[in-house]
């Protein structure tokens, strides 16, 4: 089997986010980076499938600046066989169709049986890339999958629907699957696999959107306005009383 896994490197959501100079995305400084959570499920499912069918070749693809190869190494350590890095420092500006065109451009003549990817990215969250790749390749897509079994060319998929209900879908290859939380628990790479990953093939390619004309642009990027939330006072009872009196004095006219 020939399998493609598309992953994205995203900032850790606990990071201190700042808006970039252009005002259209976050600033890259002081951020910690990791693999998009949903893409981890995609990698894990692909590796499990390989463990099941034995004969499979897993290509992991990632678009972004050089730094994304760090995240690709994790996918290789988890069990992917080779990596394809589309080196594009401007990828954060691109709209989903451009990203999907790059992937489809790479995949079109490779005859992938299954393309796994996350159902969305944790930072942009458009949830469009997977389905657009399927459309561009002219193959079906099944989104938000939470269950996957493969038996002799037939794939049984469990999808998550709104309100917690599930749908069972049967599909055949080739197919694009976008993965959702609950599909699996991604493995922790073993040390021998981390070592092996360092020697695996990692191809770098130039970005090629195949002439797709961008139709959208991020106009501005801002934090939600801070609304007057509650205040939680902490401390000993006498301390709490003092703080409360001070607050009432400062913020209200009750004690005036």
């Amino acid at each position: 089997m020939n399998i493609l896994i598309c992953i994205k490197q995203v900032p850790d959501m606990e990071s201190k986010f700042k808006i970039n100079g252009e005002g259209n995305w976050y600033d890259r400084a002081d951020l910690a980076w990791r693999m998009n959570e949903y893409d981890e499920y995609a990698v894990e499912q692909a590796v499990r499938l390989k463990e099941q069918v034995k004969e499979a070749d897993l290509t992991v693809l990632c678009i972004g600046p050089d730094q994304v190869t760090e995240t690709m190494k994790k996918a290789l350590a988890m069990g992917c066989d080779r990596g394809v890095h589309i080196a594009d420092a401007e990828s954060y500006k691109r709209e989903p169709i451009e990203i999907a065109s790059m992937i489809a451009g790479f995949a079109k003549d490779k005859h992938f049986d299954i393309i796994f990817t996350g159902m969305q990215s944790q930072d942009r969250g458009s949830a469009q890339v997977g389905v657009m790749v399927a459309e561009l390749l002219g193959i079906p897509a099944v989104t938000t999958i939470v269950g996957f079994t493969y038996d002799n060319g037939t794939i049984q998929i469990k999808r998550e629907l709104e309100g917690g209900s599930k749908a069972l879908v049967t599909a055949t290859t080739p197919v694009v699957l976008t993965c959702q939380l609950g599909l699996n628990t991604p493995r922790y790479p073993t040390l021998p696999n981390i070592m092996k990953a360092k020697k695996k093939e990692l191809l770098t390619m130039a970005p090629d959107t195949g002439g797709i004309v961008p139709r959208q642009e991020t106009a501005s990027f801002y934090f939600p306005e801070k609304k007057g939330g509650g205040i939680v006072l902490e401390g000993d009872v006498p301390e709490l009383a003092d703080k409360l009196i001070q607050l009432l004095k400062d913020k209200t006219g009750i004690l005036a």
Binding site: D30, A32, R34, Y188, T190, L191
Partner: protein, 659 residues
Amino acid sequence: MEFTREIYWNVGHGFTTLAPMYGLLLVALAVFAFGFVKRIKVYRLGQSLDRTDQRGERIKHLLENVLLQTKVFRVPGAGTAHALFFWSFFVLFIGTSLIVAQADFTDLFFGIKFLKGTFYKLFSLTLDLAGLIALIMLAGLLVRRYLIRPQGLVIKADDALMHGLLFAILITGFLIEGVRMAVTEMGTPLAAWSPVGWGIATMLTGMGEAGLRTLHTGLWWFHLLLALGFIAVIPYCKFRHIITTSANAFFADRGPTGKLTTVNLEDETTEKFGANALTDLRWKDIFDADACTLCKRCQDRCPAYTTGKPLSPMQVVNQIGEVAFTDREANLIDTVGREAIWACTTCRACEDICPASIEHVGKIIEMRRNLVLMEGEFPGEEVMAAMEQTEVNGNPLGMGYASRGDWAEALGIKPLAEDAAVDVLYFVGCYASFDKRNIAVAKSFVTLCQAAGIKVGILGKEEKCCGEPMRKMGNEYLYQTLAMETVEIIKGYGVKKIVTTCPHCFNTLTKDYRDFDLDIEVQPHAVFLAQLVSSGKLKVKVEEFACTYHDSCYLGRHNDIYDAPRSLIRAAGGQITEMAKNRDQAFCCSAGGGRIMAEEKLGERINIKRVQMAAATGAGQLLANCPFCLTMFEDGVKGANVEEQLRPRDIAEILAERL
């Protein structure tokens, strides 16, 4: 009259006695040697390890622990009885050797006799009393083992054999003496120098000389067979500890205390990490199993065992022994069990008390290394998540790394990247950097330093977890990654001295990082502050308060620091009421060994148990020196419902209030 006795009285001198006697001795020695040769082959299945360096120190440790029974003696009761039995038996052994030396060498070849006169009188009395003490101690140990049956004591067929054989040897020895005295010494002044023998002899005088002589011959040969049988069975039953436990005192780890072996991850030919098979262990790990006497001191003190978790350090050691000597192909991890392997807090209570110099913790860590590095297995998903968080953000709490130094901004403390001209680098650690409760400790510590005129710097967002919890959980790879980065950063700033408020950081920086060439002085805050107080640089007001003090495992047993924190508490006016388990006997808080990252799902909660011990002192405050302990105690006072009576605090907080 001449005060002496005829050796080989009644059994006959010369060839007819000596030939069968030495013949049998040779047989016994051959059986003994054969037994050990077979076992040595098994020890050698383990990986190589040099434990014959520092010979002088090793021999000293051997003599202290064998002849003085130093570690055995630490536990009153059974330990006292064993020590007294050992000394008595040792005296009997020396006595017998002197008889052999005179009868079969000096007298036989040169006609020299030294067992005579005053020396003989003292010799006779000493041996008589030694035999008596040995018998009493053996009886006491028998009562303990078979009647009192302390909880958790393993009783095997070996024990019955050992008790039976030793009793038989001692009793037949006394009977031979009694019979001989009944014929030769009754009514002479010599009898008084063998009071036990005299007592037996008085009961036998009615038998008549002929009967006594026949009885004597029989007993003499029987006693000889028992003694030689004893030598022969040593390698085949727990008697082997006479040799192996003694030898282990020589082979004992010479430190630094508790330091783990650093795995060579650069070696690309290594395909296996950690241990899941016998041959992955070091020879000392297999030898340890043979040195174990099943005294269960480790088990009695293990925080996991005593709270109902499936870990007994004694069992782990013996399960390795079972694999080594019965089923060599067995999987070590399956034999010991994952839950047991994950339950260890690396508190070192087991190793500290072990009279047999066994290293329990390293074996458990080796099995953890195999699970983590070869299988990607952890005790729970929360631990795997903490590992991943550490990879991404440099802390197991998953907080954004860039805010690591935020707590210090208001205090005017700068990262070394902005100002490297400082007196000390404060290596803050993850909890004091991110955890609200422990940030209060960091702030108190910095305030104290500032009051003493010490300029403190931090690494801020350049600081990462020291890697200790990950390393103890078996993730050597992540630990080494963190260690190498941290050492490089610290060395880059030309730091002269490092102070920590976390004993885990302290232990790691001061011991483990030596393998990555960090050779800068590191001090835990309790020691650093105690020096500032005693030199007069730091002045704190004495305001009396009642408290109890918890020795963290990593300041206490791992680094032998017990007095500095106590002197600091007293300097602030603290009246310490000690918990029953204090200093080297302190009971772990539950968070060591990387367990800070794990949920405690089995048995009672260790931290609640410790908090209850603290509450039992009646003191209103529980002073700690470790962020893990403090976290566990804050949680524990809630769990034990003593929030109102007991307040967990760090020593630095107490001092900062008294500036």
